[in-house]
Symmetry: C2
Subunit: 182 residues, 2 copies
């Protein structure tokens, strides 16, 4: 079981990535599986992953499927081997892009819908409210509106960053800094 310096460095990375995932609402194990595939860069089969992370076959299978669905890893095959292998061949930027797009797709729409729905419900019924509630309704509406505007602004920015691609990201970073400076 001689773990060399490379193994140790990779294990440290995998553990930390797992913890990070956990604080960001991604299951620790899913993040670890991803980290392992990312940092080794090798195609690994289910058994490799089971052994390296000490998890069951079912668990490995579930998490691998999710990672494939997210587009963070892909299935592959080794010639002369019947088993399925998995590989993470995205670079850091592509990983970031994939995760950001996916989360945006799943979450931005729903929250905007809810905010709009709250506003339209309020708009229809505000006249029916007791006098002293009307001011509150107006204040509440303003908060909802502000939040919608903010989400929209951020969304435009994220969109620009994502579509800039990794080549332009440095330039973009510089442009942002100089815009803010003055």
């Amino acid at each position: 079981m001689g773990a060399d310096a490379l193994d140790r460095a990779q294990q440290t990375f995998v553990r930390r990535w797992g913890e990070m995932g956990a604080t960001w609402g991604i299951s620790r194990t899913m993040a670890e599986v991803h980290a392992l595939l990312f940092i080794t860069g090798d195609p690994l089969c289910t058994d490799d992953i089971m052994h390296m992370l000490q998890i069951s076959r079912g668990n490995a299978s579930m998490n691998l499927r999710q990672l494939v669905n997210w587009g963070l890893i892909r299935r592959t095959h080794l010639r002369g081997d019947r088993k399925e292998y998995f590989i993470s061949d995205l670079d850091t930027w592509q990983m970031f892009e994939t995760i950001t797009r996916e989360r945006r797709r799943r979450e931005v729409g729903p929250i905007i819908d809810t905010l709009k729905q709250c506003r339209s419900d309020l708009a229809g019924d505000t006249p029916k409210l007791a006098k002293e509630r009307q001011q509150k309704a107006v204040d509440c509406d303003k908060k909802l509106q502000d939040m919608l505007d903010f989400i929209n602004t951020l969304d435009v920015m994220v969109d620009a960053v994502l579509s800039s691609g990794s080549e332009q990201i440095g330039m973009l970073s510089a442009a942002i800094s100089s815009t803010v400076k003055r």
Copy 2:
């Protein structure tokens, strides 16, 4: 028990905010308490919150404390009342700023430390590795370096956005879009 349109809109908002929090690694209840204080804008005491969200005193107390620690709400008092009240008087932008700064403070440092530590461990011991492991060590090091660079770039951007303040955010958004366009 007559919930009017304002109550309903607020409840919808609170529920959705809670769900959002849950998918981002913040406990549903903590997010709901915050949402309630934010959307009403009123100072509320522990009992108000307990009743409105149907949670226990202990739970309310714990979550309120956390929110105060995050700087998202603050304690206040109503004249002639011994109880403690809580209020959320940040606007959307300030909220975003607070949350971003806090998460950055807690998470960016540690992840950078881990990455650097992995690299320096590798650097010291790579010569001792078996020949065919050396190439892997170099590849691994490159990934770690790429990730460090990426985190750094992103960190600079986030820093610029945060220090731009809400007045400049629209301008910034425009600057980003136009930089990317060509």
